[in-house]
Symmetry: C2
Subunit: 327 residues, 2 copies
């Protein structure tokens, strides 16, 4: 379809995606066949890639600012779960057509978060197709080894950052707006938790030498913690009362079913990690220094199974422990 104000691909890239791609570590940024970057001397690099598809990961009416923020946030969250410091990202954006206002919003959301974490968007690809965005991000490890999913040991404490289930609660409440009891303020808070998650980059960097295992909670607490347990060959006990819940969640709390939001809601982008009890005081200090709540929610056990407890009694695992794309 010929349009009156057709922009060529390189014009779109120059207008919306050429900010801040240069820097001391970026010799060639956006605009050539590829970018040229200089990794920190002797460091290990950490690389991840995540995609968001319209209709699957975001709704057609998703604000472009939110999408630009979120696609970087979910990738930085993966880097945080390894204990890495972000460096660079590349972007592949698929759009059915060029809309200036959409692109302006998307790039605003993207670069705003990129600036916050000093991440350079060094290149990418712009193609026609269903609305979808893929991003690859690279970080580096300052000195310690990466935090994997395989190092949890019996008696380690299990921690989570922030609060759980807010994104899932927002989706639940949005499905029944007629009977909505939540305040606008709570809905705004919950919406931001779903649409503009803050990756726990600082916490990841600070725990890199202390944590024995870590994962980011993208698919739901139970599913993601089980990945640590399977990777490490251990089990865990989780006390439901200790799971951190936001004030908005407490105000909307209805019954036992809402534990499913907390246990299996997904899209939280918090970190779950394990550490030896001897590091407890240091982790409290990290929580205070970063301003990010870090809560003890359970303990790693020798038996290779996950057990939930509520009021001293065993509590069943959710039927569906988290988000699986092809189930």
């Amino acid at each position: 379809m010929q349009r009156a104000h057709t922009l060529l691909e390189h014009e779109i890239i120059a207008r919306y995606f050429s900010q801040h791609s240069a820097g001391a570590d970026v010799e060639i940024g956006v605009g050539d066949d590829a970018a040229v970057v200089q990794p920190p001397d002797g460091s290990k690099l950490v690389m991840t890639m995540d995609a968001l598809n319209e209709g699957v990961h975001f709704r057609p009416d998703c604000r472009p600012e939110d999408l630009g923020h979120k696609v970087l946030a979910v990738n930085l969250s993966d880097l945080a779960a390894m204990g890495a410091t972000p460096l660079w990202a590349t972007l592949s954006l698929s759009l059915p057509e060029i809309e200036d206002s959409w692109l302006a919003g998307f790039s605003r959301g993207l670069y705003s978060l990129a600036d916050r974490y000093n991440t350079k968007i060094i290149g990418g690809d712009l193609v026609r197709g269903a609305r979808s965005v893929s991003m690859q991000a690279t970080g580096y490890l300052k000195s310690a080894d990466a935090i994997t999913r395989t190092g949890a040991r019996p008696k380690d404490t299990l921690y989570v950052t922030g609060t759980l289930g807010d994104a899932a609660l927002y989706l639940k409440l949005s499905q029944n707006l007629e009977d909505l009891t939540a305040s606008k303020q709570d809905m705004d808070y919950l919406s931001a938790r779903l649409n503009r998650p803050w990756p726990r980059v600082e916490v990841g960097q600070e725990i890199v030498a202390l944590a024995s295992a870590a994962i980011d909670l993208s698919d739901g607490l139970v599913l993601d913690v089980q990945r640590i347990l399977q990777g490490s060959g251990v089990g865990a006990r989780i006390e439901l009362e200790q799971l951190p819940r936001s004030r908005a969640m407490h105000r909307q709390w209805q019954d036992g079913e809402d534990w499913n939001l907390v246990l299996a809601g997904g899209d939280d982008y918090e970190l779950a990690f394990t550490a030896s009890p001897e590091h407890g005081a240091e982790i409290d200090t990290i929580s205070a220094r970063t301003g990010c709540p870090v809560t003890r929610v359970g303990e790693i056990t020798r038996e290779a199974s996950l057990e939930l407890f509520l009021g001293g009694r065993s509590y069943p695992l959710p039927d569906r422990p988290g988000f699986e794309h092809f189930v």
Copy 2:
């Protein structure tokens, strides 16, 4: 849709996408939040990202082997155009449903090319959605600087690798199979040129210290060469008779219109590069050593415009100089 043989995401990844992700330079490959890799000491890294969408870049009946090959090939082609040696790639694969035979074919095509160029597939993402594949690739520069689009100088020779227009000729012939005059052998050759392009990795590595500018010919000769000319602030003369054409192209040659296939067809994934005439003999040697044809097709000029010549006469630029997504 619940399926009898539903595989969970980590099972799909373990089955199809966990080959060869380890290696001396890959400390953690597929399976954690992110991969951990060790860049060569003191080297610069080169990073690129390219996506292929069904219905835009490939047809719904595209063989999965071909798609797995091509998505890596187009990224390695970008690395080659910078003179880089491939190291690692991450993959984001979006599929409407899980089909074992499709995934087996895709991964066969992907890993076959990855092995050929010692590229480790270190991570990625598998999501539900329209069929689409994004890939990010990282390479490194052994010693010389990258070859950019900005270094061409007047009197430099303009070269292209391989032959031009084969992919576009295949698409043209496929549209009218009833009147097909090409042999099956020619059609197989042309189909492979479209669907299984060979990135010119060796040539890129060998010319890195000689070439003054380079680009990979993904969108069409005229459009891509103009990117070098604009980047370098120069012009060029191209002699059409010198443009390298395959035997299949010669056998199908019909009239002047077929110059458009050669000049603007796109999807060639050959390299265009410029070098000072003093390097002519070395470049002939590189062509012989790599087994890749490298042909002189023109000369860089001071006037900032591209001029085509045929039989000593000026020849008009194509109306549509190459592939633009949003025009």
